[in-house]
Symmetry: C2
Subunit: 436 residues, 2 copies
């Protein structure tokens, strides 16, 4: 069946950032067949028509760096730097995980993402103690798209490290294409400071063998740079490059601490950057200079990181913070303009993740889109400067409907694919089992 969505204002986020004020989108089999102004000649008598009058329609948001399995840890460890936060809070709590905790945590995370307008994410999870297939089943059933990646760490005995790599390779093979093709995976060495040289080299081999992207935390803090320099005599980007890490398309999370030489390497190797402005501030890592990355043509997406360092998955808040920080950093209000930052959170993020079939409303792309109804919301009034409101006034809480590949997953702010009440109740019950 063809579904026709009409009368809304469509922010296509195509390369011209075109806006159709009384627009129309026709979807069939999950794909956009038509996007443009209302056109009576496009209609057939069998179409199912949905009236979006007064609503704003835009592509689903793309979160290029998240940790949905950490959602149950929301709010642990405020006011702590990355290193002590990881070693004294995150890792000890993750070590207590079981499959049930991981599953509920992932569902709670995706529930929040969908309700706040995110339709694609590039996620990285810690596999310790969990049956990954059960957790993946639950994620697949939510309807979200993106890449869910199995972290590689060099923790524990040699045997444990070998088992971790073997599990990662098995995962890479099994989850390259899954959930009806909505989801894929990347090879995810955690970082240069938690992975041995061997683990990084082996990660590259897995990525090459299975033709997968690489997702890694890189250049996040001054401390990391000092540590890698002390161990290997070079900064993290050069260390990664020497080990061949950028042989496959790679997305690095953070990129806060970079010099010009490193930016040149990233550009030359087509490395993409997931910018996580709120997490970078909250953990005291600093402000990533993404203006310089964009000037070099590096693909940049926006990410939230996990909610233990954010503490929500609201991509609207995240993209707004990204724009504000560049303006503040340069004391130049023209930096990262309104359409530009909205593109980072949609089209550019999708390109950075290697998913160019989503992130904008264009013919032949997936019908991944969201609606916002400003009509009874004072903070979105008057409605005239809607594009500005999408960047500077909207909250994820304002999202009304969410469609992924044409299928509605959120209706009037209620998620249709996840039992919210059960997941919330279970998340609270299971969290109490953790030694906090």
């Amino acid at each position: 069946m063809r579904n026709v969505y009409m009368n809304g204002t469509f922010f296509t986020m195509d390369s011209g950032n075109r806006i159709h004020e009384t627009g129309m989108l026709i979807e069939e089999n999950g794909t956009i067949q038509y996007i443009g102004p209302y056109a009576a000649d496009q209609l057939t008598e069998h179409d199912h028509i949905v009236d979006l009058k007064g609503k704003w329609v835009l592509p689903g948001l793309v979160n290029t760096h998240s940790h949905i399995l950490m959602t149950i840890l929301r709010g642990i460890g405020d006011d702590m730097l990355l290193k002590p936060w990881l070693t004294t809070r995150v890792f000890p709590l993750e070590a207590q995980y079981d499959t049930e905790i991981a599953t509920i945590s992932a569902q709670l995370g995706v529930l929040e993402m969908l309700l706040s307008g995110t339709t694609a994410c590039s996620d990285m999870f810690n596999p310790i103690g969990i049956d990954v297939d059960a957790v993946m089943d639950a994620i697949g059933a939510t309807g979200i798209t993106g890449a869910i990646s199995h972290t590689i760490f060099s923790f524990g005995s040699e045997q444990e490290q070998r088992a971790n790599l073997q599990a990662a390779e098995r995962f890479a093979k099994n989850y390259k294409t899954w959930a009806d093709g909505r989801l894929t995976t990347m090879v995810a060495p955690h970082s240069t400071y938690t992975c041995s040289t061997q683990a990084l080299v082996e990660s590259v081999r897995i990525a090459l063998d299975h033709k997968l992207m690489v997702h890694i935390h890189l250049a996040e803090t001054d401390h990391e740079v000092e540590e890698i320099q002390a161990s290997y005599g070079v900064r993290p980007v050069e260390h990664a490059r020497r080990l061949g890490l950028f042989a496959q398309p790679t997305i690095i999370a953070h990129g806060v601490v970079l010099d010009d030489e490193e930016r040149a390497i990233l550009s030359a190797c087509d490395v993409r950057v997931a910018h996580n402005p709120i997490s970078n501030l909250k953990l005291g890592s600093g402000i990533a200079d993404i203006s310089k990355l964009l000037d070099r043509g590096i693909k940049v997406g926006i990410g939230t990181d996990g909610v233990a360092s954010n503490n929500n998955f609201d991509m609207f808040e995240e993209l707004r913070t990204a724009a504000l920080l560049q303006k503040g950093l340069y004391k130049d209000a023209s930096k990262l303009s309104t359409p530009q930052v909205l593109a980072l959170a949609t089209r550019s993020g999708a390109e950075a993740m290697g998913m160019p079939q989503t992130g904008s409303l264009e013919v032949n792309k997936h019908a991944d889109f969201i609606t916002i109804d400003p009509s009874n919301k004072p903070h979105l009034q008057p409605v005239r400067e809607a594009l500005s409101h999408l960047v500077y006034a909207v909250s994820g809480r304002d999202v009304c409907d969410v469609y992924i590949r044409g299928k509605q997953v959120v209706r009037n702010s209620h998620c249709l694919t996840i039992d919210a009440e059960k997941v919330i109740s279970e998340a609270n019950r299971l969290q109490r089992k953790l030694k906090w």
Copy 2:
């Protein structure tokens, strides 16, 4: 009648930031009679009991710098520096104002404030072309508390400037205490770059004669500092001090561009600072180093500025941004801790505004408080780390109930004192009359 609010988690924001998990608040005649853990012996048989089970209760938020009459201008002029934004967008649009536009704009602004949990504001409005008494009547009827101040500018002919000062003094006299004592006013010279020396001296005289606080934009941009230095040979803070501006308690908006000497002056003169982190970023002004202000014991509050440079009145987003920026600026995650920043947006903001009777839940203070119901909100789950969520995960959209002096003004996210539908419809109609 005594109203007893019980079973919620009460974040008192008193000087010890005490939290009562199964707490109780008793209000009578708009004043808090009891706050603490549930205590059966405090109850009498005639009490009206309100069960807040599962809800979080905190003092109403205090917005120390706003421009509610500009609300109809939401979203004008993104990506512009302060000076061209003011001269090519704000002032030409404000010049077209009439009483109707000003009134609806103010009501829309207060509507958004109340719905997002703000119970007190220190506001500054441009009086050009409007019947101020009619606008004040409308603001008074909303139930909000705070100070609404009449801007003094040195624009136009000598006669116009004289008329502006006379109107400001008349306003100061009439609105020192109004709306049942809920509202007051301050003397509000716009800035050192829009006010002549004479206008600033006269502002001081009015403040002293009527025993009112002063509210002024100061030290906002590098450009301002250069301009004042070129004109007067000193930086803005010293210029203001020499003219006697700090003789009465003064709250300066912004304080972005300050050196140590200026911070010493502010501290010595008990000048308070309204920190507007989002507006300062958006207009490319920079990041105010409020850590240094706090280290000197200067009273700091949080403000949103107007929605034409923000673009909303969400104080939760604002206080979160304040905390994040200090952590990022110093690359130190311990800066501006979770309870500390929540205090800035409540108790400290109230003190900075000279309204110590609000901003915390303490006996004998006004019963100005708000509730948040996390129960069906995935982004506030699990609920255990509620204090963290209040700073890092909540949106103004999550506010459920708002009480000012014991009177409920928002119930279940609906405003009881303002006709939201009418105000929204009128705001859109009236905005179309402005030459955009």
